[in-house]
Symmetry: C2
Subunit: 395 residues, 2 copies
């Protein structure tokens, strides 16, 4: 029974593509054919990596720092991150619990890999980060999505977690600020969720990769789950978004002390070590010079949000809550039609505006939602709004 | 039923640490205490990344090439690799089938991820690369190890594969040259194994990360599985060993056309993209200047093998076959005692020589074997041999 190609594992039938990356590829193909596209699809800062980080990376290469590091990461970077959490969040974390990862992607796989057994279930919000459900399925787990809308601040609640919890439930995944809605999980609610999870001996994975990108008037970063110092919490962090280091593929996680050795074993096998040049570069991520640059970026993101939000509302996109962070607006597009996937294709091909359909983030009301990323300049956002207006007039 | 720490997934009980990385950590701790260690444990070239690659990496950083690439990798790098296989192996591979990965580690996880379902079985040799069995277990699969010794050239055979194959067997993993024994899988045997696997609709994963590190008198690289052009073969390649780019975390795989889309979906979710600076750096890996440097490295590895092999044999380590490639000697240490793990600890602490015990590579006769890596200078190897002699005299 020879066939003409190798058969495919059963799990792949459950793994969906990361649509926004596909949309980006489509947009880039159009650009190669001479079309100009306004990019509001991809969750990647348009700002360059801050110069001090770039210089540290170049210096690392010049000094030959290109060999494997320990699987848990460079000790001096783990210490620098612990110090950053102390300075930035007034949180005392032992460097031993800080584990450097190949992006938040590796952090999520390691966190689930050491805690979730096959057939166990993870609770997460719908909409939410697309890859989360695919990580769970990849490991043979099951996803329990809880639909969240504006009434829920687009976030899980302790009540919802309690109601959803089943015998096979292993834990809960939350993000704050969250992709695609940009809302924060209120800290009191996070505390309550942690209590529910801890009472059931579960794991709470808290994605804080957008923690540095929030736009409160106080200027303070939002509270972090690290301050709860819970043996049931794993936090996921990244250099990608806040530090504008997407392509470097570097992040970190903070795990309970009892899990460090397990994560180390798995990381040794799956990754050997994170990128060495990226780790040396990241040593410059917490300098005053870098943090000053990042604060300027944050202000620009805020200006963009404050421009784009009212413009989209005027265009009949409904955005009931002003998102506190990240760089996304998740908009109800019902008044533009009942199929946001088709709408995003038309906007790309007919208006030259790339936005991501709700279907990338889950199934709850996905046909009536689009995600706009303000990861491009104010000028481009203005151009995008103009094109949306012109397209609407022709509808 | 609150506990004081998050419980650990069932799969972790099956995942063993990568011992050589642990040994390296031990050795480094001794060094921090002022001891001088001869490093013959770690499978990492001591040579620096060739200057043209380093310069291309620095240039990429200077030009701001630090954002995500497509999940399958930079198109120009995929083309450069296809051209390299044509020049180096006279093999015509479509760039579409070349997928850039975050090291061979990612290639192995992706290859198994898209082909192996839970409870299915993979056949591999014992001894073999330690992480292979852990990748399979991580995915819920089962490992069928076939013991191989000098009589088998430390490699699988088509006969052995046929005898081992069960209903739940999904495929076979081989490496050529192999870690830890350094032997080649004869090309005729590879062809026969492919026939067995294809007849059973399975997948043959061929690890060729040491392909460029072989020491035949002809100077030609060994034949590659790519020339079989089989829909049942996935080949795994790496910039780490041959190109001295370990810490950059970059490799590639060549997959049947029918699997490209599946690997893309999984790579998008698990990795987003490989390191961008590393990919731009690797564009300089196939230049004449780089290849000239690498040929000098290869000659030095050969000199080291030709020095160390007879020295170890004189010291009553039995190495019945002269390994054709990689940078390892897998030695029977029976005459030094019946517990190679204890022996490696004594050699590290009492003689200042770090070597890896057989237990890292499997369970077949592991207590009577040590792996010596000649990834350090001739001077260091000489010092190591002297220390081994002195230690032996005191035994």
């Amino acid at each position: 029974m020879t066939t003409t190609s190798a058969p495919i594992s059963r799990r792949m039938a459950q793994i969906s593509p990361f649509q926004v990356m596909e949309l980006l590829t489509q947009a880039q193909q159009l650009e190669q054919n001479g079309q100009e596209i306004v990019h509001m699809e991809v969750g990647e800062p348009d700002f360059p990596t801050p110069a001090p980080i770039v210089h540290a990376g170049q210096q690392a290469l010049a000094e030959g720092n290109t060999r494997y590091t320990p699987a848990l990461g460079l000790p001096q970077l783990r210490e620098a991150i612990a110090a950053f959490h102390y300075d930035y969040h007034q949180t005392n974390i032992s460097p031993e619990r800080v584990i450097i990862t190949s992006g938040a992607s590796a952090g999520l796989l390691l966190a689930l890999g050491v805690t979730l057994s096959p057939a166990e279930r993870m609770i997460m919000s719908d909409p939410g980060y697309p890859c989360n459900r695919n990580f769970v399925r990849f490991l043979g787990g099951e996803v329990d999505s809880i639909a969240v809308g504006a009434d829920q601040h687009y976030q899980l609640s302790a009540d919802a977690v309690r109601q959803q919890w089943q015998e096979q439930t292993r834990g809960v995944m939350v993000a704050s600020p969250a992709n695609p809605c940009g809302t924060l999980l209120p800290f009191d609610e996070l505390k309550k969720i942690e209590k529910e999870v801890a009472a059931r001996d579960g794991t709470l994975i808290v994605d804080e990769i957008y923690n540095g990108l929030s736009y409160s008037d106080s200027g303070h970063p939002p509270a972090t789950a690290l301050t709860l110092n819970s043996d049931h919490i794993i936090t996921i962090h990244s250099f990608s978004k806040q530090f504008c280091m997407t392509g470097w593929r570097l992040g970190w996680m903070v795990v309970p002390a009892a899990l460090v050795r397990e994560v180390e074993k798995l990381a040794q096998n799956l990754y050997i070590s994170p990128s060495t040049p990226a780790q040396y570069a990241a040593l410059a991520a917490f300098s005053t010079e870098t943090l000053t640059i990042l604060e300027q970026y944050r202000q620009q993101f805020r200006q963009r949000r404050d421009f784009l939000l009212p413009q989209l509302r005027q265009l009949d996109f409904q955005i009931p809550i002003t998102p506190e962070g990240a760089f996304y607006l998740y908009a109800n597009s019902e008044k533009w039609g009942d199929d946001s996937r088709r709408l995003s294709q038309r906007l790309l091909h007919e208006a030259g505006v790339a936005v991501t359909p709700g279907s990338d983030f889950g199934s709850y009301r996905h046909r009536s939602h689009l995600r706009f990323a303000y990861t491009t300049s104010l000028e481009q956002l203005e151009l995008g709004v103009t094109r949306l207006k012109q397209f609407r007039e022709k509808l």
